[in-house]
């Protein structure tokens, strides 16, 4: 997924000299190709994210197409106000990349873990939020965000969970992508980012009738499609490596509660910080986002209906 991100970024920058990559002193190996292919379009702004995002607004005003890269704990969370005032308020075409979302930095603790970024960004008007699940989605999200010429936040999480699609996809703003076909009346899994692969695996093993939807474009969201899914499904399970407050689960619940009430199990981080250090898989388990725990949660939830 990171290789695909690098590839699409270099491709966009070579085709459009106005594309500038700004990094807050992160992405050392990730940008080797970019620095080699487009050295004049690369700016390391230093460990100064607030200034970097403000500058990106100035560069966009001057006609450039900044892509601003940082860890999602910092971009967007540290710079929410710069995104709101300097970029989104004037719909400036800046793409903000938050890498390492969720528990990628499992050993580093709360400082580098990021489970609030969707909630922080989603409430900002005119800011689109993308959350690709695999290499095909990251490529399509970048292309869609670039052509939209509008403010965008793209969340990149755990990148080596395997593909969820078998070929290139077309990401349209607000559209969900079917990652596994099930049957009408089955459970609908609606997942994003690193948890899409998990959702597919669980469906394959335990819920053969379940349909799995991937959500690479969280905001804005096509409400009509969500309502259709709600009406055709026994129940909905949302999955994300983000807080259950303000993320994908909240989005689906907001739409369905108004237009197609349905019981929803929101699988995500339960409004808590990580307590312990450990591997990525360990951290998922600590937060109840490992396969076994999720399956048990779904089983318990369905037993109530």
């Amino acid at each position: 997924m990171r290789a695909a991100f690098s590839e699409v970024l270099v491709r966009l920058a070579k085709a459009d000299p106005n594309v500038l990559l700004l990094t807050g002193d992160h992405g050392y190996a990730l940008f080797d190709d970019f620095r080699r292919e487009c050295p004049a379009q690369y700016i390391n702004a230093g460990i100064a994210e607030q200034n970097m995002v403000g500058m990106a607004a100035g560069l966009a005003r001057a006609g450039f197409r900044p892509v601003v890269y940082g860890l999602s704990a910092f971009i967007p969370v540290r710079v929410v106000e710069q995104i709101k005032l300097d970029i989104a308020h004037d719909k400036l075409p800046v793409i903000l990349i938050g890498d390492g979302a969720g528990f990628v930095y499992s050993h580093l603790g709360t400082s580098h873990q990021s489970t609030e970024d969707i909630a922080c960004s989603r409430a900002i008007p005119d800011l689109s939020v993308y959350s690709p699940a695999d290499r095909f989605e990251v490529t399509a999200c970048m292309e869609t965000a670039y052509h939209a010429k509008a403010p965008a936040y793209l969340r990149m999480g755990k990148s080596d969970r395997g593909d969820v699609h078998s070929a290139a996809v077309d990401v349209k703003i607000g559209k969900l992508l079917q990652a596994r076909q099930g049957k009408v009346g089955g459970v609908a899994f609606i997942a994003t980012g690193a948890l899409v692969r998990t959702a597919i695996d669980i469906a394959e093993e335990h819920y053969p009738d379940a349909t799995v939807w991937s959500v690479p474009s969280i905001k804005p969201m096509d409400g009509e499609l969500v309502v259709t899914i709600a009406k055709q499904s026994r129940t909905i399970v949302t999955l994300e490596d983000h807080s259950v407050l303000g993320g994908l689960g909240s989005t689906i619940a907001e739409i369905t509660s108004e237009f197609a009430p349905v019981r929803i199990l929101r699988v995500g981080v339960q409004d808590r910080f990580s307590h312990y250090c450990g591997s990525y898989e360990y951290l998922l388990k600590e937060h109840g986002l490992d396969r076994e725990t999720i399956v048990q949660k779904i089983c318990d939830f369905l037993a109530l209906s």
Binding site: G46, Q50, N51, G54, A57, L59, A62, G63, Q82, H89
Partner: protein, 275 residues
């Protein structure tokens, strides 16, 4: 050195009267914040800022970034001189459904940034300057910041960047009036020498009397004439509330609204050119 010609407008007395009229019409605050930058803005608009065709959004224009958005009435007053705003905008300031806000809003042509939340405009200005440099354009960027505002961290992040990248087309003008919202800057968060700070960040600096238009003009001109690839800083020693004796150095006028008596007294003081 060519001195300013007052016949080109931007008379400080007129600008202050405009601010008083709109502050009274809108029953609004931040008069002191506007009065400390009147001469700074007058000099920039009259002698330095280039707006091809007198268009506020002209391509290739210089950029005036009012990072201390609280002084926006001073900028509105200058934009009135340029004919960019309708009279109704002044007589109906703060009316329901009106455009001009109490802080700088970039959706108004002529205002480059949305500020008031402090420490934003400076960085946007650095980005504009970097953009001009990358394009090989001779556009200049002026960022007007308050001394209270430079409590904010992004100012110093941006100063490092401007210096590191040799943004010689970027000029910060510090309105050093010695006050911020809750009191004197030396009591709230002591700044020490603002000039030394910008110098140590790699800026070419000059300190001037921020109400002496000739001195401001000369400082700006001298700094732009420099061959050094350094960003510039003008430290303007100003008086908060300048022009109305009962407002000068009285921080109440960060927050106080005019009543009929104070409005009349202030108009009289401004008309008399009280120094």
């Amino acid at each position: 050195m060519v001195m300013n010609s007052m016949n080109k407008g931007f008379d400080a007395k007129v600008l202050r009267k405009t601010v008083l009229d709109m502050a009274y019409a809108g029953s609004t605050v931040h008069i002191g914040c506007a009065f400390s930058i009147i001469e700074i803005l007058a000099v920039l608009y009259r002698d330095h800022l280039r707006y091809p065709g007198n268009e506020p959004l002209a391509a290739g224009r210089d950029y005036l970034v009012l990072s201390k958005g609280h002084g926006v009435m001073a900028q509105y007053a200058c934009m009135r001189e340029l004919g960019w705003l309708k009279e109704e905008a002044f007589t109906h300031y703060f009316a329901d459904g009106s455009d001009l806000k109490g802080l700088s809003d970039s959706r108004i042509p002529g205002l480059e940034v949305t500020s008031g939340s402090l420490g934003h405009g400076f960085s946007v200005g650095v980005g504009l300057a970097m953009g001009a440099k990358l394009r090989g354009s001779d556009q200049k960027v002026y960022a007007v910041v308050g001394d209270g505002e430079i409590n904010e961290g992004p100012i110093w992040e941006g100063a490092l960047f401007a210096s590191h990248h040799g943004l010689k087309n970027f000029m910060v003008i510090v309105d050093e009036n010695g006050f911020q919202a809750m009191g004197p800057t030396k009591d709230v968060l002591h700044l020490g020498s603002v000039q030394s700070k910008f110098e140590s960040f790699g800026f070419e600096t000059i300190t001037v009397d921020g109400h002496d238009e000739a001195a401001i003009h000369n400082a700006v001109t001298r700094l732009w004439a420099s061959d050094a690839s350094l960003p510039k800083a003008v430290i303007a020693k100003t008086v908060k509330g300048k022009g109305v004796p009962f407002m000068e150095n009285n921080n109440m006028w960060h927050y106080t609204r005019l009543n009929p008596e104070t409005y009349a007294q202030a108009l009289s003081a401004v008309a008399g050119g009280a120094q």
